[in-house]
Each structure stands twice: as structure tokens, then as C-alpha cells.
């Protein structure tokens, strides 16, 4: 029972660095721009907040300020992609894809264009800004749409790598970002491959599989450590790419265990839990538990207070694992 090769030393030693997904994205989009001059960046008046200012500073001619107009930003990006460019568009997830879903679906995805959508400030970890700004439905909006990749990085390092990788694909992509600084779990040099889940924590004969994506997996790792003391062995699988979903890899791990816990900082309807449940119910039904937000809006508070309030933490994960272990 241990961390895998992907985990950063400082995290293992209990002294992790803290960095926000959006910071990783900001660095990633610059790198993507270094690698391909066709990469453009568009923002809707949140340039520094989404960390696109790094790109703007380096490539001012390839940066476009769209004003507070997310719908138009999406269609403009579609037009740029039609002319052969790879535009990144960034805003808060509540507004993009929240406000411009029609444009993303009908002008980007329907035409199969490589527009890269970065939705920052997703999840309750937005904190003080409250329910209006805490996107908890963005995955539900995009997972059912054809021709789009959906990526939820676990930390800033992964956000940077994922940003670089999605810039290379021919389809539309959505990368889900968060505002808050969260622990850097993965090593800077850890291998990242779009569409390939990997274990953050592994056990020789796991009893429980924890599947999820995003910084919430920090809590999964805390739970894994705690459960060790109860003699419950778990695996923690980071499914950073929800679409296309590597069904085989998930099934491979799920088949070994008694029960599966899915963790996400998102509504439990239409998110990762639904995706995994659908997969397992067809191929390998297992008792499941869902850590997420259940049909509620977020509200103001500190991220850690909100995690606690919505049960998006180690405590509820441990409780769920015990239920699955002892009751099923």
C-alpha cells in the first residue's frame, strides 16, 4: 500500500507545495504557444484571473480581449479555428461553458473544430464569491456533447501538461480549472498522457477503488492513508481525462475490488460518478458511493469549510469506504 511513482516527494513527506490549477494552465498555454504559432488566446475580461496574461505578455499579437462577452468569444474562436488556428478561450466555468454552451455545441463541436476551452473557478473551492460563481454543472454540460475532450487535472503540474497536450489534438477540448491553491500531488516530471488514467495510490489486493479527478483527490489520498490503519486497502485512480474515457483501465481496477467510490467537486448527477456508474453497471456492477454535491448550490465560505459542509473530504470518503467494506 503506497503512493505511486507519480507522486511528488514533498507531498509524500507531508509538506506539499501549493499551486492553483489556473497557474498551471497559464504556464501551459504559453508553452503551447511556444510550440505552435497557430495557438491563440482569447479571454473575456478575466485575463489575469485565468492566468492568460502570461500568454498575452509573451504573444500580444496572438492574444484577443473579447470583453465580457463569452458567447461571442466562443463563436469568434470557432471562426479562427475555421481559418486554421488553435484558439484557447478562457473564462470562469460558470460563463464558459455555462453561458455559451449553445455556441460551444453548435459552432465548435458540431463543426469539429479545435477550440480549447478553459473553465476556471470550477467547484465550491471558489469559496467566498458564493453560489453564483461556483460551477458545479460544467461537466454535465459538456460530457454529452460529441467531438470534445474533457479534462480535469489533479494539480497545477497536471494542468500545465494537459494544456500543452490538448493544444495538439484536432478536436475541441475542455479543461476544468480551479481558483484555489491546492497541494501539488504529482511530480513535475511525471508522465502525462491524455486519455490515460493512472494510479496515485496502489495496493496489492485492493478492497476499494477510489476513482475521481481534480484536486479533490488530495482527500482521497488522505483517506487511503487513514484506511490503511483499518486494514482496508484501496487504489486511487486519477481519471483526469473523462472524455474520451479509458473504460478498460477503469474496469481493470474495478474488477479487483468490493466497491467503488467516485469523487468529484461537481454535482453527482451528470458528472464523473454518473459516467463511472454507467460503465460499471454494464460491465462489472459494484456497490458504489458518490462523493460530490447532491442537488445543492454552493455558497460563500472558505474552501475547506465548504469541502467539509458538502462532504467533499477525507472523512466522508473513509466513511464510504467502511460502508462498502463492511456492509457489502
Amino acid at each position: 500500500m503506497s503512493y505511486t511513482k507519480y507522486i511528488d516527494e514533498n507531498f509524500i513527506n507531508g509538506n506539499p507545495e501549493f499551486s492553483a490549477l489556473r497557474d498551471g494552465f497559464g504556464r501551459g498555454v504559453v508553452k503551447a504557444g511556444d510550440e505552435n504559432e497557430k495557438v491563440l488566446a482569447l479571454c473575456a475580461d478575466l485575463t489575469e484571473s485565468t492566468r492568460m496574461h502570461l500568454f498575452k505578455e509573451k504573444y500580444p499579437d496572438r492574444f484577443f480581449e473579447m470583453g465580457i462577452a463569452e458567447q461571442n468569444m466562443a463563436t469568434v474562436a470557432a471562426g479562427m479555428a475555421l481559418e486554421g488556428f488553435v484558439p484557447f478561450i478562457s473564462s470562469y466555468a460558470m460563463f464558459s461553458p455555462g453561458r455559451n454552451w449553445d455556441q460551444i455545441r453548435n459552432t465548435i463541436c458540431y463543426s469539429s473544430l479545435p477550440v480549447k476551452i478553459a473553465g476556471s473557478h470550477a467547484g465550491v473551492s471558489v469559496g467566498a464569491d458564493g453560489g453564483t460563481h461556483q460551477a458545479l454543472e460544467d461537466l454535465s454540460l459538456l460530457l454529452p456533447v460529441p467531438n470534445i475532450e474533457v479534462v480535469v487535472p489533479v494539480d497545477a503540474n497536471e494542468a500545465q501538461k494537459a494544456t500543452v497536450e490538448i493544444a495538439k489534438t484536432a478536436s475541441a477540448s475542455y479543461i476544468r480549472l480551479a481558483r484555489a491553491k491546492t497541494p501539488t500531488i504529482t511530480r513535475k516530471d511525471a508522465h502525462f498522457e491524455l486519455g490515460k488514467p493512472y494510479l496515485l495510490w496502489e495496493s496489492e489486493s485492493p478492497d476499494i477503488l477510489i476513482v475521481g479527478a481534480g484536486p479533490i483527490l488530495t482527500e482521497a489520498l488522505k483517506a487511503a492513508l487513514e484506511l490503511k490503519d483499518f486494514g482496508i486497502e484501496v487504489s486511487v485512480l486519477n481519471v483526469h481525462t473523462l472524455k474520451p474515457l479509458d473504460s478498460e483501465e477503469i474496469l481493470k481496477h474495478a474488477e479487483q475490488v468490493k466497491g467503488v467510490i467516485v469523487m468529484e467537486e461537481h454535482q453527482t448527477v451528470g458528472g464523473i460518478g454518473a459516467l463511472v456508474a454507467q460503465l460499471l453497471s454494464k460491465h462489472s456492477p459494484k456497490p458504489m458511493r458518490f462523493i460530490g454535491v447532491s442537488d445543492m448550490f454552493g455558497h460563500s465560505g472558505k474552501p475547506e469549510e465548504l469541502y467539509r459542509e458538502f462532504g467533499l473530504n477525507c472523512k466522508s470518503t473513509v466513511a464510504s469506504a467502511k460502508e462498502l467494506f463492511f456492509e457489502s
Partner: protein, 279 residues
Amino acid sequence: MITDAQLEKLKRTSKKIRIAVLEMLAEAGSGHTAGSLGMADVFTLLYFHILRHKPQNPNWGDRDVVVLSNGHIAPVLYATLAYAGYFEKELLHTLRKLHSPLQGHPHKGSLAGVEASSGPLGNGLGQAIGMALANRLKNGPASDRFFYCLLGDGELNEGIIWEGVMLAGREKLGNLIAIVDRNNIQIDGYTHEVMPLEPLKAKFESFNWHVDEVSGHDFIALENAIVEAQATLERPSVIIARTVAGKGVKEFERKPFWHGRPPTKEQLAEAIEGLEHNQ
């Protein structure tokens, strides 16, 4: 400049396109008649006189681009593309049928000459703006590629249109030329009743656009307006083309009823006959 001979040819072509539109719609059994007939002259002028394009090489990098934002008038786009030589005219009979590249609303990727997906109103203008911005980045501000965006007047109710209008004005997108199909009707009635647009010219002007207002059925006036728009380098242009919805078929003209209805097979012969007499 349009010579007399060219003018006659344009008129003949637009009549053929109107007939094709009526036939396609009658065969499909659904679709939008009024706007398709109303914009037939604008389409004819663009594809047979204005555009720099190569129908046999539809993705030619130096082409001018037409984005149809009000995608529901796809029949007139498809008929024009077929007559311009983008694909075989026989395909027109497949409009709205299973597996046809002639989707009910335009789908980019299915059919040669369709430059963007559209239909949900408001979404074409931003795409045309994006193309024009991308072109300026690629080919510089002196590029003489033009990006035409055709808009319905009812479509101007959409907020996203004004997001785009604001952006194009700020960007001084001289290569962008919008043409508004000002036929005064939308599904729920007349535009001045549903959602008044006037003073429309002043609205665009206040966003730093060059505006012209002409008849959408007068080839010479339309051409003059487009030439002037092309020569306006520091501002995007919009031509408010006053059109008659259902133009050419007296029974259909100016009636919101015909916005989203096709002629029946019985009405078709009558409509075509009326068209022959009208023009």
C-alpha cells in the same frame, strides 16, 4: 460595374435559384420559404458577381467567405452553391432527407461551400469576425479577402449579435461585410411588433460601422453598396438590404405565415408559374 448583359444574366440566375428553392422545399415537405426567396437576389449577386472563389476548389486559401448566420434559409444557400458549381444539382433533391449533406440547417463539413455551421440564431456573426481576425493575423491588414456575413433582421434580437457588433467596431474590421435581410418579418409577426429594431442604421453607426441601406432586389444598387463597403478599410460594413419576404411569388410575399412553411406539391406549380410572370 454590372453591364446590361450581366444584369440580365443575374436576373435569369436568380429566377432559376428561386425555382430550385421552391422545388427543394416542396419535396422536403418542410423548411423556410419566405427568407429563402427573399435573399435569392443577394445570393445570386454574391456568388455570380462579387465573390472571389473557386467552386471546384472550395477550400482555396485566398477565397472570400460567406457565412450564413440565419441558417434556416439554407435552401437558397444550397441552390446557389449548386448553380455556382460547388456540387451536382441533383443533390438539391435530398434536402432534409436522411444522410443528405444538405442538412436542414447548414453543417460545416458535410457539404462543399458551407463555411460554417449555423441555425441557432446569432452564431454566424462571431464566426465571420473570428475568420476576419484570423485572416488579418495571417495575411496582414492589407489582405483583400472579404468575409460576408448574412444576417436575418429578426436575428438581430439576439444579444450575441451586439457582442459581435461591438467587437468588430473596436477591431475596425474593414474586411467584414454584413448584409442584413431586412424583410420585416419573424416567426411571431412583424419585426416592429415583436421587437422593434429601428433606428437600425443609427444603431450600427453608433458602434463604428459603415452602414448602407439599399433594396435587396436591385442588383446595381446592391453592387454599389458592396463595392463601397469593400473600399471602407477602417470600419466593418453592414448593408441593410430591404427585401420582400417570399419575393417573386405574389401569394407568399410579405407574409410571416410563409416564414417556416414549404409550398405543398399543389402550390408548387402555381408558385413557379407566378414566378415566371413576376419577373
